[in-house]
């Protein structure tokens, strides 16, 4: 019988996805093309939107994603870090973005930078590991300088690594400071932080004549196999949540209702609110919803879209649930339909998936404001990417920070729910 209180079962759960990806990857591409595919991924500039499925092939991409996940899990084992909602979200986010921007090379300089920061602060790396995982959002900065800036290779790699270390070093204090900007209503806080850091770095690079521009390298070639793979995984998550302890199904469903009652604002750890069974159930349900959302809009399961779905699934352990996500997704759809973009295009679909960074707005203030947040987000996210030239992978988190900071004070001012006396709520 599985006992989620035991770490071995938690580790087994966390390692399931990267193991699945690596094993599947070995069969999706000829073995003699795996290493060249991996090298193409490692040497790509990796800025948004660089679909590793198109660059390196399906096998190399899945193996890269699985290895990136195992690197993070390895740190968690080494430093005996608790496997809770935030770290589940972080590992799934790293795996998801390893389909289009993070790879087993460009994440290391950032880890080293965070490690140096923890050493300077005389603290264990463990205390900054969460920031380190999320800060790999700026991995493309390392890759672009190394391979995309036209520098002499050794100089490019040295400069890319140096900038990566620098980014890692400054990320922890900045990440905490940026929380105050949106007050925890933008779940991808490191996306906002990464956007600020990336914009500053890119501004300096541009002033030296280095042009950093977003790209659009996408493929729908592996659409069907990816749909089968990930929908199966999400169904297994639901099954795991409900049936690994069959005598607790009713308690699990009740716990999931408790999860759905939370706003999702940072810091809402669903492994505390609803325990593991309900968290797994929520992750599986959110994966299915996100996948159906993509299909309903006519989108393909390409690298960025898979990254968006896996990030939602990860954050379904740390703030996202159907009640607070669906209104935001609806707002993005309305925005996409009324505005100048193609509803089925990858950028709009990504806005719908990653726009759920604003889920706490719907969770706290109701579905109407969630729709408004999604509607605004559609426009903002299409305009902020130019600032950092695509080196910040969490572009929607960057946008979400602005939308939350803009919207929440207005809601607080005009919403009767937000203005209700505190004495009416329970302690």
């Amino acid at each position: 019988m599985i006992n989620w209180q035991q770490r071995k079962w938690q580790v087994a759960f966390l390692t399931a996805l990267p193991t699945l990806l690596i094993l599947t990857g070995l069969f999706l591409q000829p073995l003699d093309d795996l290493l060249p595919g991996m090298l193409r991924i490692l040497q790509s500039q990796s800025v948004l939107l660089s679909d590793y499925l198109a660059i390196g092939g399906a096998g190399a991409t899945l193996i890269n994603a699985g290895l990136c996940g195992f690197i993070c899990i390895g740190f968690m084992m080494l430093y005996k870090i608790e496997i809770n909602g935030p770290f589940i979200a972080a590992v799934f986010t790293v795996i998801g973005f390893a389909f289009f921007g993070k790879n087993i090379w460009n994440i290391w300089p950032i880890f080293i930078g965070v490690f140096l920061y923890s050493a300077v602060r005389h603290q264990s790396f463990r205390n900054y590991a969460l920031v380190a995982f999320f800060a790999t959002t700026l991995g493309p900065l390392v890759s672009f300088i190394s391979f995309g800036a036209g520098l002499e290779p050794r100089a490019g790699i040295a400069l890319g690594m140096t900038l990566g270390v620098l980014v890692g070093f400054i990320a922890p204090p900045l990440a905490s400071a940026m929380l105050r900007f949106h007050d925890g209503y933008n779940i991808y806080n490191l996306g906002f932080t990464g956007g600020v850091i990336g914009s500053l770095f890119v501004a300096v690079l541009r002033s030296f004549g280095l042009i950093v521009e977003p790209v659009s390298i996408l493929t729908g070639r592996y659409d069907l196999i990816m749909k089968v793979l990930f929908f199966t995984f999400f169904l297994v998550l639901i099954g795991g949540g409900l049936f690994v302890q069959p005598n607790r199904i009713r308690k699990t469903l009740a716990a999931h209702i408790r999860i759905m009652r939370t706003s999702g604002r940072l810091v809402t750890d669903f492994t505390l609110v609803g325990r593991y069974n309900a968290t797994l159930l929520n992750m599986g349900v959110m994966g299915i919803i996100a996948g159906l959302f993509v299909i309903a809009l006519g989108g393909e399961f390409n690298g960025p879209v898979i990254g968006g779905i896996l990030t939602i699934v990860g954050f379904a352990a740390f703030g996202k649930h159907p009640r607070n996500c669906i209104p935001v997704m609806l707002g993005v759809v309305i925005g996409g339909a009324l505005k100048m973009w193609d509803l089925g295009s990858t950028p709009v679909i990504l806005a719908g998936l990653f726009g759920t960074t604003l889920a706490p707005v719907a969770g706290k203030y109701g579905p109407f404001w969630g729709v408004v947040a999604g509607f605004l987000h559609t426009s903002v996210v299409m305009n902020v990417g130019v600032l950092h030239g695509g080196v910040n992978l969490y572009n929607n988190g960057f946008s979400g920070g602005f939308v939350a900071a803009f919207l929440v004070p207005i809601i607080e001012a005009v919403s009767p729910v937000a203005g209700a006396p505190r004495s009416r709520r329970k302690v």
């Binding site: 809770n84 900054y128 905490s176 400071a177 929380l179 706003s263 809402t268 505190r422 004495s423």
Partner: protein, 118 residues
């Protein structure tokens, strides 16, 4: 190196408790902060407050979270910033122990936060 955010974190914990418990119906709260050699102790008292049994259980559950330096280092600036339901867990993540007592409508939370959490 002494954590230069330490005092600010104590302030945030108190801010969160005040934000959470002080309301029109519970117009008085008492706070005692004591610094010992290795810890800060915060005794937060609401002398007159009515808490239903279910809410008391929820309160105890919310603060029964172990100290978590991994999350504290990142998220502590959010403590005291909102009256949402999740913040007491953040207070708990920033505390080594929280003892809750509720007798004769008097609620007392005794928080201990050790100075070194590496």
């Amino acid at each position: 190196m002494q954590n230069y955010h330490e005092i600010k974190k104590i302030s945030r914990i108190i801010d969160e408790l005040l934000t959470h418990f002080l309301s029109d119906d519970n117009g008085r709260a008492e706070i005692v902060v004591e610094e010992t050699a290795d810890a800060h102790v915060v005794v937060f008292t609401v002398p007159s407050i009515e808490i239903e049994a279910e809410d008391y259980v929820n309160l105890v559950n919310d603060v029964s979270v172990a100290r978590n330096p991994e999350l504290e280092n990142y998220y502590w600036p959010l403590a005291g910033e909102s009256d949402s339901e999740s913040e007491l867990s953040l207070v708990a993540m920033m505390s080594d122990s929280i003892d809750v007592t509720y007798e004769d409508n008097r609620l007392e939370l005794r928080l201990t936060r050790k100075k070194t959490a590496k």
